[in-house]
Symmetry: C2
Subunit: 330 residues, 2 copies
């Protein structure tokens, strides 16, 4: 089986490739080849002995998608996107990559479908397709009214994917990822970064800044579960999904205060004491409009699984990123 | 005031121009100029003494939208579309006109907005943005999961319009029109044609074919009210609408049986006797997936008005198309 990952150098893309290599197979088929695409060269996944083609290019050139599709991958994970902040700051770039790029990919597959080619396409959408005012638990039939260009581009990608799937050009599924938490790596400037850093940094004895109040509620899933969603989506019987191909994923709805109490239970008061409160009205206002939670009934019934508590999300991070134990500083 | 109508040669476009000329003004501003665009040349509206520029061209050429926008119309009614059946039969044409064409228009305005240009844009969307299974009354926060490429293209147009409006490029509003009934003119091959023809033809003593069962329920509005929606949308205070710029319009939810009983009340048993039942399983299946009704709470609160009963819809047709009285045959 030949698997393509677009956005392979990103955090989720790398973890997806690692997991696929560790499994050796997708569903009941052995993985023999990877095509990796990103704007920077993605490393070949460690331990894989099959063919790996890694391309550094972006989707705004239709020839890039055509070349990828010419290699006839069986499954295409489309994770690439200009992220929310950048798509808002650079209108043209966001639409060029997130909308045009996605459409070039879908159209390259459509044109190849004339030869009977019909890959599985897993597209990472986002809870940013929803915009305030929002209920505490967003139902599966709630409308997508994004309040960012990024969310708009993702919602359009969902519509295209459902229509192209309905017409038989490919077997598509759009996975609306919750905010992925705890993101490994260094603190960054993303408005959502604090959701991870207030846990990740104290877990290794470092300070972290909290810019919002404890009452902010949001929707989270671990990187491990996010990868699990993509793999489950790639092997799922799509007849059970029907024509509505965008699914809101399960996750953990937690306030910042609940995140902090989970940290206290797992790592103690000393860890919590490392969180410095530096209120930022801009970030407070922005995240106050974000999705607080979903009921995710369809995805749950289809077998998508996430953590049940924030304690679990923290423990997954300790297992996957910290070697299974907290460091000696505690 | 300079008004542009894209799709000016269509039924709604012509009636819109006639109504605007009859009013002489839009809101409190006198109309001094029309720019009319369609794939066939639109006639200048009768009785208008100002400037009329009529262009025969389609939106798949970005230069067409640029030229229209270069004339800086104050209000742009974008009614043009490849209709449902054709967009389904010709994938490329539907996407080229309904998606790319709409985006070329929006982008031409966006680029002009750098000079401070900010027109009102009224975009006719459709209840085809919704796809079965549907509740009897679709609420304003129900998701758009179209089951046609046309509905997909309209839903994407709504998303683009909301995002471009949010970013300040123009003041947009998307009007989800119910099925317009009674459409004047001759019977056509559209799957929805019978909704009009089973009333229009008997009202002038002619036979009509009914391909579905009496229980089929659908959502209707008169051509007069459809034009009223567009004009109300063009003058409405958009601050009251907020960022969710697609509105489901009010209308009359009626079964085919209820339509027929309204015809009987208005025109008698002899008219009803002209309806010939010729069941068509394909049409039955198709329209069985269409929207049965909406609650349209937002639009109603914003002052959009439709008929209350099907009797009214028939009387509007008699007034607007038949000179106010039924012909002598009765």
């Amino acid at each position: 089986m030949h698997i393509a990952i677009i956005g392979a150098a990103g955090m989720v893309g790398r973890k997806l490739a690692e997991k696929l290599v560790a499994d050796g197979r997708l569903g009941d088929q052995q993985i023999t080849r990877f095509s990796l695409l990103d704007v920077i060269p993605a490393d070949a996944p460690a331990g894989f002995t099959g063919q790996v083609d890694s391309h550094a290019a972006d989707l705004s050139d239709p020839a890039v998608s055509k070349a990828l599709v010419d290699a006839r991958p069986d499954v295409i994970f489309h994770l690439a996107a200009i992220v929310s902040g950048e798509a808002e700051a650079d209108f043209d770039k966001g639409y060029r990559i997130n909308l045009d790029g996605t459409r070039y990919l879908f159209d390259a597959i459509r044109l190849a479908s004339a030869d009977g080619y019909k890959p599985r396409v897993i597209f990472t959408s986002s809870i940013a397709t929803f915009g305030a005012p929002l209920p505490d638990r967003i139902s599966d039939d709630f409308h997508t009214t994004p309040l960012t260009s990024y969310g708009t581009q993702k919602a359009i990608g969902e519509l295209l994917l459902s229509d192209y799937s309905r017409r038989g050009f490919f077997d598509g599924l759009a996975i609306r990822l919750p905010t992925v938490c705890i993101r490994p790596g260094k603190p960054n400037l993303a408005a959502s970064g604090f959701f991870s850093s207030i846990l990740r940094e104290p877990l290794v004895g470092k300070e972290a800044v909290l810019p919002v109040t404890d009452g902010v509620r949001h929707w989270h899933v671990s990187p491990r579960s996010a990868v699990g969603f993509l793999i489950h989506g790639a092997t799922l019987d799509l007849d059970k999904v029907g024509p509505r191909r965008a699914l809101s994923m399960p996750g953990v709805s937690a306030t910042v205060g609940e995140q902090i109490e989970a940290l206290r239970r797992v790592a103690g008061d000393a860890a919590v004491a490392l969180i410095k409160r530096v209120p930022d009205e801009g970030i407070q206002r922005m995240v106050g409009n974000w999705a607080p939670g979903f009921n995710a009934e369809r995805a749950t019934a289809l077998g998508f699984k996430a953590e049940q508590t924030f304690d679990e999300i923290i423990r997954v991070h300790i297992e996957d990123e910290l070697g299974g134990t907290l460091s000696a500083w505690q």
